[in-house]
């Protein structure tokens, strides 16, 4: 029998007492969902709760805690996949992969500290549910590109699966894509199969230190565009304006107090050396450069992917802005005109992380407007519970998309008992 208890949980602003369901088998999950259907109660699906404050606040009657689903089911290095339960910790999986010189290609970021949780405590279920990706997204895609298959229990209380363990698979609709990023609003995942790849033998990053003084955002985007449009297979392209470099823990980044553009190259040693030299030749025209070797390079991209630069002060609202990469600096400039804060660029300019000084509802429409003009999207990643329940955290979708979203939700969870309101306001 699964554990049912009462449980005191601390969220950002309030204490709450909710019924706490802690299943260990899929049959128990089915039973909990069936019961919820019968009693017309809703469930907040959680695991290690590191990203509980991401998305809209869920207004649910009970917790469905999946942390006991923590095993690795099957890892076959030669078949390039790992199969596990959703409660397994990403950091544990990464260690296991590391021992076999493998990794997840999409560079799972650790968002925990950004929300004030302990580093390394995020679950793989949440990683999938939030469809996260690190700086390598531009070359290797996000979680959605690497989830090969899953088993889940729908909001109907029925077990279903999709996909498999192989990459080439077009049998039926690709529900793995839908599950990735669905924030637990469609089904409760009980088993996941994720693609793994050989770890790059070497990594090198080139840092370009921009002359101090005027903003380097525009030329930096140009440089990144040139690098990403080259055939040097750049696997990370980020720009840290002068205003944020002091937040970095890396000496290479914070020492000179000037804006930095970082480009990463990975692969076999001789190739990395050659590509680095070639790229450095392009960059040297703009300022002083420095090369980071594998260990420092790992630290830098972890800091960028984890948004560690904005982890210190968790009370600052944090926005994530996705735009066509070449427009990054334009958008950055416009945004800072209407909103006080700091930002930096990842994905060659395609992802902007903005930590705003304060929060005013009035700023939001302006922000949406700026981003809409170039066909991008904005998410409020971190914000107080109050704010997250008041605004469209994931930006107002066009009516057609919103309607389709609701229909898809109903197709999996007709009574809307799973994470109600987490993605869009309910109703």
């Amino acid at each position: 029998m699964f554990i049912v208890g009462f449980f005191l949980s601390l969220t950002f602003q309030d204490f709450e007492i909710m019924q706490h369901n802690l299943p260990s088998t899929k049959d128990e999950v089915i039973q909990i969902i069936e019961t919820a259907l019968k009693t017309q109660s809703s469930l907040e699906v959680v695991c290690h709760k590191t990203k509980r404050s991401y998305g809209r606040p869920v207004d649910a009657d009970q917790l469905l805690d999946m942390k006991n689903f923590s095993s690795v089911i099957n890892y076959e290095p030669s078949e390039l996949y790992i199969q596990c339960q959703p409660g397994a910790k990403v950091s544990d999986l990464s260690n296991i992969l590391d021992q076999n010189k493998q990794c997840f290609a999409f560079e799972p970021p650790d968002w925990g500290p950004m929300f004030g949780s302990k580093a390394g405590s995020g679950s793989v279920g949440a990683l999938v549910a939030c469809n996260l990706a690190g700086s390598r997204r531009i070359k290797q895609g996000a979680t959605r590109d690497h989830l090969l298959g899953f088993h889940a229990i729908s909001g109907r209380g029925e077990e279903f699966k999709s996909g498999g363990t192989v990459v080439k698979n077009v049998a039926g609709f690709d529900l793995s894509k839908l599950m990735a990023g669905s924030l637990g609003t469609l089904a409760v995942m009980t088993q996941l199969t994720i693609k793994v790849v050989p770890k790059p033998e070497k990594a090198r990053s080139i840092l370009l230190y921009w002359p101090k003084g005027k903003s380097s955002d525009h030329p930096a985007i140009k440089v990144m565009t040139q690098a990403l449009g080259s055939n040097y297979e750049v696997s990370g392209a980020s720009h840290l304006p002068q205003s944020v470099v002091h937040r970095s823990k890396l000496n290479f980044v914070n020492a000179k107090n000037s804006a930095i553009t970082a480009l990463r190259i990975e692969g076999p040693e001789p190739s990395v050396e050659a590509r680095c030299t070639a790229l450095r030749r392009i960059l040297i025209k703009f300022g002083e450069t420095e090369e980071l070797h594998t260990s420092n390079s790992l630290k830098l991209w972890k800091e960028i992917s984890d948004v560690a630069i904005f982890s210190e002060d968790t009370s600052r609202p944090l926005w994530r802005i996705m735009v066509p990469p070449a427009f990054g600096a334009d958008i950055g400039k416009k945004v800072l005109k209407s909103m006080e804060g700091d930002l930096f660029y990842d994905w060659g300019g395609g992802q902007i992380w903005l930590a705003s000084e304060s929060y005013q509802n009035a700023m939001v429409p302006k922000l949406f407007e700026i981003v809409n003009a170039v066909g991008g999207e904005v998410n409020l990643v971190r914000g107080s519970k109050k704010v997250r329940s008041e605004i469209d955290v994931f930006m107002q979708k066009k009516p057609g998309i919103l309607e389709l979203t609701r229909k898809i939700k109903k197709a999996f969870d007709p009574e809307e008992i799973l994470n109600p309101g987490r993605m869009y306001p309910p109703g």
Binding site: F160, G164, Q351
Partner: protein, 495 residues
Amino acid sequence: MRMPEPDNAILDHRSEIIAKLKSFVQADGVISEEDAIRAYECDALMAYRQLPMVVVLPETTQQVAAILRYCYEQNIKIVPRGAGTGLSGGALPLADGVTLGLGKFNRIKEIDFENRCVVAQPGVTNLGITQAVESDGFYYAPDPSSQIACSIGGNVAENSGGVHCLKYGLTTNNLLGLEMVLMSGEVLRIGGKHLVAAGYDLLGIITGSEGLLGVVTEVTVRILKKPETARALLLGFNSLETSAECVAEIIGKGIIPAGMEMMDKKSTLATEEFVNAGYPLDVEALLIVELDGTEIEVSHLIKQIEVIASDAGATSIRVSHSEEERLNFWSGRKNAFPAIGRISPDYICMDGTIPRKKLSFVLKKITELSDIHGLGCANVFHAGDGNLHPLILFDANKPGELERAEKFGADILKLCVKVGGVLTGEHGVGVEKRDLMGEMFTEADLKQQQRLKCAFDPRQLLNPGKVYPKLHRCAELGKLHVHRGVLPFSHIPRF
């Protein structure tokens, strides 16, 4: 092949429907004479043929929307069609259906080098996208063998792959945005030139949906700079097992080549006869491994693979030293289908994926099945990702051979599923594998997929009879049966 029963009420109104369609598009955009619609009676799975009720060839999104809205209101079925190169019968017409051809959507709308993407209409060919950007050194990575003919819209519908998807991913990994029209006539735009981050992944779910969810009217795909160089190795082995071991060893050593293709003896002999690629003829298995990237990287990896291959017992190792030689290595593999077409009056191409480690086991079983069914089989595969293409040889003029070939094919696909693989790696389910879906999925799995279909197309008018063996009404699928079951606790209010 059992298809949904044609609706006589629709067929009775054929001339009225034709007249109405003519009001939506230009005069030459509606094809209704029997001679002319015959060109649309099948896709590249030619064993199944059916004349459509009528063919319509719109040119604009508004026209597609008007046609779909009208058909939705009148309960008329629609079969979307790209270039008709599909190998699973996805574009097989319905007797009471309108075949909606996207051939006139053939323009590249925008090339954006800075954001590294191309916006194209769905009827542009896969190769057409590369051709539009190659003068600037860019290309579109997914490269199905049919790339000169197949449409990018068809690629999205099938989530097509190619020999280079081992390194560069499938269509789904290279798509940034699209415009599509729902069966109701509503036009939706999804994604764009940015990387989508939040909301249900509609791009992901539409890719590979085989024309069942919406009609794609525009795509935005990612383009990449052409690698500095590409070189290939041609490796011969005296058994399929050693060849499979070599594949495993390459991946085990941490190398992901741009492509890794295998052919068995029968395919090797047939293609050599056809294109004179200079393949060794005394081998049981031939492996083509391609590396791309910088000169230094490619020669570094080639040296490593030479060692791996020779340790694995390769009986011949050749490395391309010029672009001409590299293309020559590929010429046989790229022409495998027509080459097989020359040694057998007919063939069907199967498309299962298996875990790499099961390769030699499955090949042995296929040889056994070949004896049981009394039909020959030649094998080519995307060895790097375990995607098999057994080509079953038969003669449709000999009574019973087509049926035997289909049985043989079904046995192969069941075997793929049994060893932990899947029914189809890249050609889609269509009508061909529709009735085998139960081998891979439970009734609950299939119903859940169909519920998703209902969210897009509640009247099930878009390409019905494809992919799913049983049509359930959406109202039926939506019903929720709350089971008995004791309540372990009563409802506790939140406070």
